[in-house]
Symmetry: C3
Subunit: 362 residues, 3 copies
């Protein structure tokens, strides 16, 4: 077996002075395989009826700085890796000040005729697939529907540290089949490993919570989605179970009557009967449209969420994206949301949201 200069360099401790140079040379060759990419999105926003309802400089999209590469191993086999930093552009801190360095994802794996197999941390199959059926494309924003409505308030990773992502599995295997006549199956399975999370009282008590701090999952979390694309039509069917055995299933579809107009709809049902005595089911549905007009794109959405025994949430949003280039656009969002419980403890309020900003990919 021939080893690359890089690998030899990183392992051989002799001749350190020589290594510094050899290592650099090896690196120069490896350089070609790394792509740096990212997103910086910042704007002025205001949301009423939240803890800090002052005008803010903040983000609408996730802000990313990522590193990825593909190595051709021959015979149709490829090695893949991707590492993605997430940050808040208004303070320069890691997302929410608490999340891991590579909050976005950290994965490595192989791709071939058999599909794609990766290990590490990333979006679950369900969370990644469902975003195509949300009019804000899954942006974690007040105007969008993904976090609160589209996934029915469901959290993929309840046993990770507080403030961590709600859409990802750590310690997981990610598998995607090849696409066969427009049909694909994606599956994510995580280990039961403890991951430093807080206690979940659930059906227990404060002194004997159902899941103690740093608890292992009681069952292997999994997520599976099947997607189908046929010309202007696309559909998804998905199911997921998290570390505290909350379950969700989802069905979604989209249709393009003309190339510039995409209509979409999704329905979700979450079942929290493993950790709750009452109000265990939450249903949600979202309707949306994306309409491209010249260099502009209009986003429209309406959705409802109905947990058992709780007032309905109803949200209507409209957005506009004005492209300055394929990589850069300005945006404007307006949103109106009737929501039953908010941090200021009013029992039923109408939350208004305004956003204006710039979104830049690199």
């Amino acid at each position: 077996m021939k080893k690359s200069p890089l690998r030899s360099a990183s392992r051989s401790p002799l001749l350190l002075a020589v290594l510094a140079l050899a290592g650099a040379a090896g690196g120069a060759r490896a350089q070609s395989s790394v792509t740096i990419y990212g997103t910086v999105d910042a704007g002025v926003q205001r949301t009423t009826h939240v803890a800090n309802d002052a005008t803010q400089i903040t983000r609408r999209d996730n802000n990313k700085l990522g590193f990825r590469g593909v190595e051709d191993l021959g015979s149709g086999l490829k090695a893949l890796f991707q590492l993605e930093i997430r940050y808040d552009p208004d303070t320069g801190a890691l997302e929410n000040n608490t999340r891991p360095l590579f909050q976005g994802q950290s994965r490595v794996g192989l791709q071939g005729n058999f599909g794609t197999l990766r290990l590490g941390r990333g979006l679950t199959a369900f969370q990644e697939s469902v975003m195509a059926f949300e009019p804000w494309s899954g942006l974690p924003n007040v105007a969008g529907y993904q976090t609160n409505l589209q996934v029915a308030g469901y959290t993929s990773d309840p046993l990770s540290p507080a403030g961590n992502s709600a859409n990802r599995f750590s310690n997981a295997v990610f598998y995607n089949t090849p696409v066969w006549n427009g049909f694909q199956v994606n599956a994510t399975v995580a280990t039961k490993e403890a991951n430093g999370g807080p206690a979940v009282i659930g059906k227990g008590t404060t002194t004997a919570p159902q899941y103690a701090a740093n608890a292992n999952a009681s069952n292997n979390p999994y997520s599976v989605s099947a997607t189908y694309t046929n010309g202007p039509f696309a559909a998804m069917l998905a199911a997921e179970r998290n570390a505290v055995e909350a379950k969700i299933w989802s069905v979604a579809a989209s249709f393009k009557p003309i190339p510039d107009l995409k209509l979409m709809a999704s329905f979700q049902r979450q079942d929290q009967s493993h950790t709750q005595f009452i109000n265990t089911d939450t249903d949600a549905w979202v309707l949306g449209a994306n309409w491209t007009v010249g260099v502009g794109k209009v986003l429209l959405g309406y959705g409802q969420k109905k947990p058992d025994g709780v007032l309905k949430t109803k949200q209507a949003s409209v957005g506009y994206e004005y492209s300055l280039s394929p990589r850069t656009y300005l945006y404007l969002d307006l949103s109106h949301k009737r929501t039953p419980f908010v941090v200021t403890a009013r029992s039923d309020v109408t939350q208004k949201h305004y956003a204006l900003g710039v979104h830049h990919n690199f």
Copy 2:
């Protein structure tokens, strides 16, 4: 509107196996727009009369690892972003172990005939402009004058977490006019957003501090500087108000009698009457020179700071930078400072400082 492969890839969840490849290809195209840059500066230093006055390996300049890009949008319009990590080279940790990942700056914006408009976090207009009139170019070092004397001990961001930068605004809009006959105006305005800072007792009490922990600014922080350059002469006039309404104004000028010699002077007055009952005003002035001799550069400075009712601080420093290349130099600093209050509680001490190290830009 045509979307780039990158943007499409990051949004479309179907056909995941295909995406992994398409994403990589999109990234390859985006790659051209990212520049990696940075500074590594490490040396041996000793400062007497400080908490840890042992000989240290430490930095003289800020250590940076940054990512930035400029996209040409046509018609003289450009999109800009910059993300800058700061770290301590002696331990490999983020600056002061407490600062945000992109402590240096995280900004995105547009540049055109109208000037430059950016959003995010960065140096305030005053803090960025005043450094040109300091003989150590604003290096945050014991030998330099920026932190303690040149800005009269003023802090731009008192409501950010303890240990955070004293020179920056988070949650801000940054605007620079075009340069017009050597004249430019720079303005920074921040929102009143709370940012997780500690309580500031100010004119309150321990139980009822003037600014509670995680308080909003009582007024929008702003910073404005006007700069003028005409051949060998440059000047600045600036004013700033921070989140606890401490105010500062500053006037500074520099002159080059010969191309290799730059003489500079600055005066500052800080007003802390919003949070202090006594000793509200602090005046400071700094004189300096930079003299280039062959591949060497001599730095000279003298300055004083005089808070009301407190002993004067007096500092004299001399430095030498020996360039090995346009990107790399060795440095030697000597500094002598009479300072009224130090951590060891002596009432008036003369602090000595020695530094020898290497500074490398990449």
Copy 3:
């Protein structure tokens, strides 16, 4: 002295709008000097008799994302820097969730006829040299011998924050001589600087620990190794003293009877008499082989550790690496370890370890 556009840009605060562009141009030139490199390694592992003995997705090797560069200064002189992030691929977090951003290393220095001189943080001379004589090449893995056996349980940096690396000096000077007839000397010396570490009780008491929290080193830590290479034969002699004056010396050698087979052996003795009353000495030895067979490599090892007054540790491991390319391989490890004290408090257990995964360099 001519300054580069980059350096001028980073220092001159006037004409900010112009700078944004000039800086970008300067950066483009600097770009050529930065190499991005790294390792992503993730697999499925199980280790019995540990706190969390569930099947895990975790790493076998250190996962790295690094930035380095070499600048040619002329006359055989070079400037070098290297910054290396370490992370856990299964969660995307920094290594152990607690370590500094550039846990791997952060160093800058010069290289010339005189050898290589660097400042900052990195592996000590002993820790870097000894890995060539360990059959898993110093991988910090249960199957490997480096952490527990090969260095006799010794820790290079006991006064850094809890959870920090055991193999590195912060605040250090690193010197490597040129290679002379196959012979090289490497030396690392650290300052006595306090570095935020926890208290070490040692020969003190809980209330008066021998080293208080955030204590300075009682003596300058140092590490020195001498290495010799002559065709198929290599050898090392090394000694080190850490911040709490634990000492270690080590002798090691390797021999290649045929190019595809490397045999290796090392012996170490640690002396903790400065901080312990009893069981001050720990001896350890490791034998190993690396055998390349086609695109595969077989790793074999056996070793023992014998602290005074404590049961012996005995470990046997076998591994197999299957190369898919010079940058990517699959691995399989099996290990069997009789160990006296484990977290579950059994007095003598046989710990079994299995690992299967993928290792990718970029």
